[in-house]
Symmetry: C2
Subunit: 349 residues, 2 copies
Amino acid sequence: MTNWIYPEFDFQPRRPLFMVVMSNTAVGKIPGLSAAGTTPDLTFYTPGADAELVETNRIMTMPELPETPGGSPTPAILTRAALTLAKIPSLFVSSGLEKKPAVPFVDLGGLPGRDIRESPAVPDASAIFERGVILGNKVSLLSDCVFIGETIAGGTTTALAVLKALGYDLNVSSSFATNPTELKENVAAEGLLRAGIGKGDLRTDPMRAIAEVGDPMMPAVLGLLRGLTTPAGPRIVLAGGTQMAAILAMAHSMGIDGDISIATTRYVAEDRSAHFIELVKSLNRPYYIADPGLERSKLPPVQTFAQGYVKEGVGAGGAVLAASLYGVSQQQIVEETDRVLMTVKLPHV
Amino acid sequence: MTNWIYPEFDFQPRRPLFMVVMSNTAVGKIPGLSAAGTTPDLTFYTPGADAELVETNRIMTMPELPETPGGSPTPAILTRAALTLAKIPSLFVSSGLEKKPAVPFVDLGGLPGRDIRESPAVPDASAIFERGVILGNKVSLLSDCVFIGETIAGGTTTALAVLKALGYDLNVSSSFATNPTELKENVAAEGLLRAGIGKGDLRTDPMRAIAEVGDPMMPAVLGLLRGLTTPAGPRIVLAGGTQMAAILAMAHSMGIDGDISIATTRYVAEDRSAHFIELVKSLNRPYYIADPGLERSKLPPVQTFAQGYVKEGVGAGGAVLAASLYGVSQQQIVEETDRVLMTVKLPHV
């Protein structure tokens, strides 16, 4: 049907639901690590603002549109464009989120993740996981195809640290065009050293790896996966790049099995500094690549996505895949993404 | 099929969802007004504890089981029994809730309702309503039959005040066996006097009536109704007594129309101190009465329900109706309600 989604997704959902887990981690405030905010302190507001943008195309609780220090806008504009065109409902979920959005969201509680270099990062990981299971169970009775994205600044670094604790030695992606790989490696290494965890030590205990060097998004998504993978449950598509690939690795280690695949953008899949495809292939999970075609955008800030800035987030790749299942064309995605950025309402500050 | 649900509900839901709106109002702390807590201060914890009980059969954020000063347990035990037997998913929603539960819930924000005698009660009613619309719209795409209950201590008094502002002169029900009608009338009258509202003055402006003398549950449920009543939307059953009947009156005045009915327990319908049936009939809405049969309980605290204590709450009547649609018998409801009360886990305090 389309040549911009690869391979074709062979299922037509009737009651899709697009979930996005919002979390904060102090790792996101380490200067130079995350581009999800013009300053490190603003990164804590980005998840809530992403929710407001997707739900209402209006930013309420952040003084500006979430964007990179270089001026690339949040990928939430792409997620909103795709979901709006396809009329797919979204459901934002908070886990360890300090700055709450002014739109409806499911609260899973939890504390913001701490700096992995200084202390255990997510001591309440098990409680978050259990609440995720409860929510996943409910959703499994309502939807036949659940997409799960994330918005958390600093999340690729915690993903890197957990992957190392599980024995993987792979690079993760970045919202910067030039991946600050060395800084991420150093932060992850410091966290693992503090916790006394060697490479592969927690191969069979990802929940402990999360508690020590992960972030609050992880136990929430894993809990959702556990709760959603019932015998008559829905298809599940993780919507994200290397962070969600890391979740797949954790789920694998925890024996969470079922109809779980992963979808991301072409921009992540083609990122030579990261190992998305390698990791997913090693886990034998199906993956889908969506090409949003944003090089054809009329707006330079949106064109930067096609130049390797931002790349993914807020489930953008999965949202584009989902929209394609409802007859939305790549050109419509491009035009609607431009329209979202042109019309988004910002607070008067 | 059954003679304990009257009349028969002529629709078999395939993807039912049982929503419960949790709110706090300072009116619930007026001594002698609400029996939803052993002391007035504890009433603020009751909604969150009800959510924990229904979701997990465990109380986490309240020092004791929510119960009346006389020892009747929360009707949440009946709601949990019914939903568990029928495997119907619940979704708790907070609106103006100060004491949050330790289980997943949708947060609609808002401030707790203020004492209507002292100041405007719900100044943020419009914002809550708008968030309710957003949530209702989502749910309309997932469920084919949505039940909406409430848990708010003091809610029948604010319902009385809003009904008067809308021009109705009817009594409301009570969680006490002997309805403190005079106290409620006085509080409602004081609130209306403070706000300068005469009987019927706000016949065409229920949102202003809520803002002045209502509570935060009201705009949330009305927003849900607005968002759910789409052309291809689900059946909607308000689950509650005179409070939900008051919501029907407000919805009527706001022109919210659609497949909306109401279900309650026999204990409310037979309460001669309240005018449930009269109000619903005057609005031309279908109503359903469920008889939980709790006089056959083996536990004296549960038997008190059949003696006119508690009567309704947390959507208990609607939950019993919903369970009956899945082959659950009245005897099963009685036995499971007893089992819930015998097995509920309380905090070690």
